[in-house]
Amino acid sequence: MALLDVSGFSRYSELRGQILPAGRTHPVDRTNHYSFGTKTPELALPLGVDPSAFLKSCNQEAGVSIDLNHGTTTLAFKFQHGVIVAVDSRASAGRYLASNDVNKVIEINPYLLGTMSGSAADCQYWERLLAKECRLYRLRNKNRISVAAASKLLSNMMLGYRGMGLSMGSMICGWDKEGPGLYYVDDNGTRLSASMFSTGCGSMYAYGIIDSGYKEDMTVEEAYELGRRGITHATHRDAYSGGVVNMYHMREDGWIKVCKEDVSELIHRYRKGMF
């Protein structure tokens, strides 16, 4: 994708336009994805369909049995040694468990991570698009993109499609010249920076744990433990979160993947007296 843009490769549609005279562009030849062109930013819209109305009709009353409900728990917090990102791995479609082993963290580049919550399709697509834009930035400017700029790009993409039924709650975490960075970006276009976030329907349970255990001067091991506990207790109480805890640690020299532990074993460890 990125190489295609940079090398000036002209698309099939443009060639076709030169060959065939005038006129009717085939629907296939229209912009089929969002593009941050410097001169002509393009927005792709589906033909003749109102996306938000369509999504509203996909529920039980209209006879569709697959609910588009999305459950997850993701959390991230900044501390003195970087940023910890921890997510669960369950994908649900209403009452049906689609998968217990989904990767909800997208590794944009060695210095940037994005988490996903909400609609899995939306998150995967838009964050991959963000990865493309970040790569283009790097190639054009010879410097890595800052976390603030990356999150702004994502937020602008969301704003372009505001009101059309996107569902995405993502945290962009990275380490740039300013130090560790953590931003929360929403499908409404919300973009917030703080030192602690948790998203998803299990987020309330995670907030209780990380709020009470958070200290600015934690050691690395304490921070890992806090992230694990937050996700584990949230999966214990929330039916739509579960699977494994995927944890990443964003350090000055890039991110490392800390662990991938099953929450059922973790909850037994933490609550010996409970069972």
Binding site: Q80, M204, Y205, A206, Y207, G208, I209, D211, S212, K215, E216, D217, R229, G230, H233, A234, H236, R237, Y270, R271, K272, G273
Partner: protein
């Protein structure tokens, strides 16, 4: 109320024979005829609400004709509900009147059992549709000397039903010479609320009590006759020995078996701490840890982390306080102060109400100290590298 029943006092309103009394307004009299638990002859005479009032909004009780005044602005709303709702006997009235303001229930209450009895904690903010209606509400209401109920939902409903429950438990105690168990009290409350299932009544209570060996004729519990919540006395006496002798057996058996906690926690001789969650939709659950309200998810994960059977009273209090604090920190509908009650074999004790604002500043101070430590450490490191 209780005394009236005991001495068979014939109140004009309660006299079933004279049903044609033209006393008062028509609607008012119909309501009065069915006072809850008014008949003194049978033990539990359940109040069946008058059917035509079930589908009217609470606004209309006791009023002559509020509908005429409110009908015009609501005429648009009137047609919609009758088209979309399925035929529900309760909702088949032609004019669903909307409430004057949306009733919303925001709170954080929690309770758990540990070796020293039951600990109940709640915040004190009462909210009404986005406004903080009062910063000093009483959400934990004592029922009698050895039972307390945390309330969540509509505060008016909770206050009324708590009073009715207190009265019935007192009557039971006077008739039988012993207190009704927590399980029985929860069952009673659940049955009392059952006729209102499907209406706007909203009560979610955790009944926390200590079922004890009651000596026959021992009728002077301090909390038993007090029915107004404002009268609960705040005692500062601390229970040092929070382990009840009847529970020492359970503790030692726990340590020998090592991990078989549920067995060890069973009550011996039917006495010991007990907790039930009762809800107006009919739920009645026994458990060791509950949290109810809009702030409950935040509190319950903190409790999951820290609550164990072997906690001391101080540890349990600090965990409860921390859990309510975290919930009030994140939930807009909870806040202000925290009330903590401890129920043991000797009865309930209320700790002084603590302002969570202080807790917030204390934590801020702690965090700032932590950051300052990091700064000084990094400065020292820099100095060392410079010198080296």
């Amino acid at each position: 109320m209780a005394l009236q029943d005991i001495c068979d006092f014939q109140d004009i309103f309660l006299d079933r024979g004279t049903s044609s009394l033209p006393f008062g307004k028509k609607t008012g009299f119909n309501y009065m005829r069915g006072l809850p638990f008014s008949n003194s002859t049978s033990l539990f005479n359940f109040y069946i609400p008058v059917a035509e009032y079930l589908d009217k909004s609470p606004l209309e009780f006791g009023q002559i004709s509020p509908i005429q005044s409110a009908s015009t602005p609501l005429s648009q709303d009137v047609t919609l509900p009758s088209l979309s709702l399925p035929e529900n006997p309760l909702l088949s009235s032609p004019q669903p009147v909307s409430l004057p303001f949306p009733i919303s229930h925001g709170t954080t209450t929690l309770a758990f059992i540990f070796q020293g009895g039951v600990l109940a904690a709640a915040d004190t903010r009462s909210s009404c549709a986005g406004y903080v209606e009062g910063p000093a509400a009483q959400k934990i209401l004592p029922i009698h000397s050895h039972m307390v109920s945390t309330t969540s939902g509509t505060s008016a409903d909770c206050a009324l039903w708590k009073r009715i429950l207190s009265r019935e438990l007192r009557l039971y105690q006077l008739r039988h010479g012993r207190r009704l168990s927590t399980s029985g009290a929860a069952k009673l409350l659940s049955h009392m609320l059952h006729p209102f299932k499907g209406t706007e009544l909203c009560v979610a209570a955790i009944m926390c009590g200590w079922d004890g060996g009651e000596v026959h004729g021992h009728l002077d519990d301090t909390g038993g006759t007090k029915t107004d919540p404002g009268g609960c006395t705040e005692t500062t006496k601390e229970i040092d020995k929070s382990v009840d002798p009847s529970l020492e057996k359970t503790q030692s058996s726990f340590s020998s078996v090592g991990g078989q906690q549920p067995l060890a926690r069973e009550k011996r001789n039917g006495s010991g701490p007990c907790m039930f969650y009762v809800c107006s939709d009919g739920t009645r659950l026994q458990g060791n840890l509950f949290s109810v309200g809009s702030g409950s998810p935040y509190a319950i994960s903190v409790l999951d982390q820290g609550v164990k059977w072997e906690l001391t009273l101080d540890e349990a209090t600090s965990i409860a306080r921390e859990a309510v604090y975290r919930a009030t920190h994140r939930d807009a509908y909870s806040g202000n102060h925290v009330d903590i009650y401890h129920i043991s074999s000797k009865g309930w004790i209320r700790r002084s109400r603590e302002d969570l604002k202080e807790e917030y500043y204390r934590e801020k101070e702690r965090r700032e100290r932590g950051i300052r430590q990091i700064m000084t450490l990094s400065e020292e490191n820099m100095k060392q590298t410079k010198m080296a």
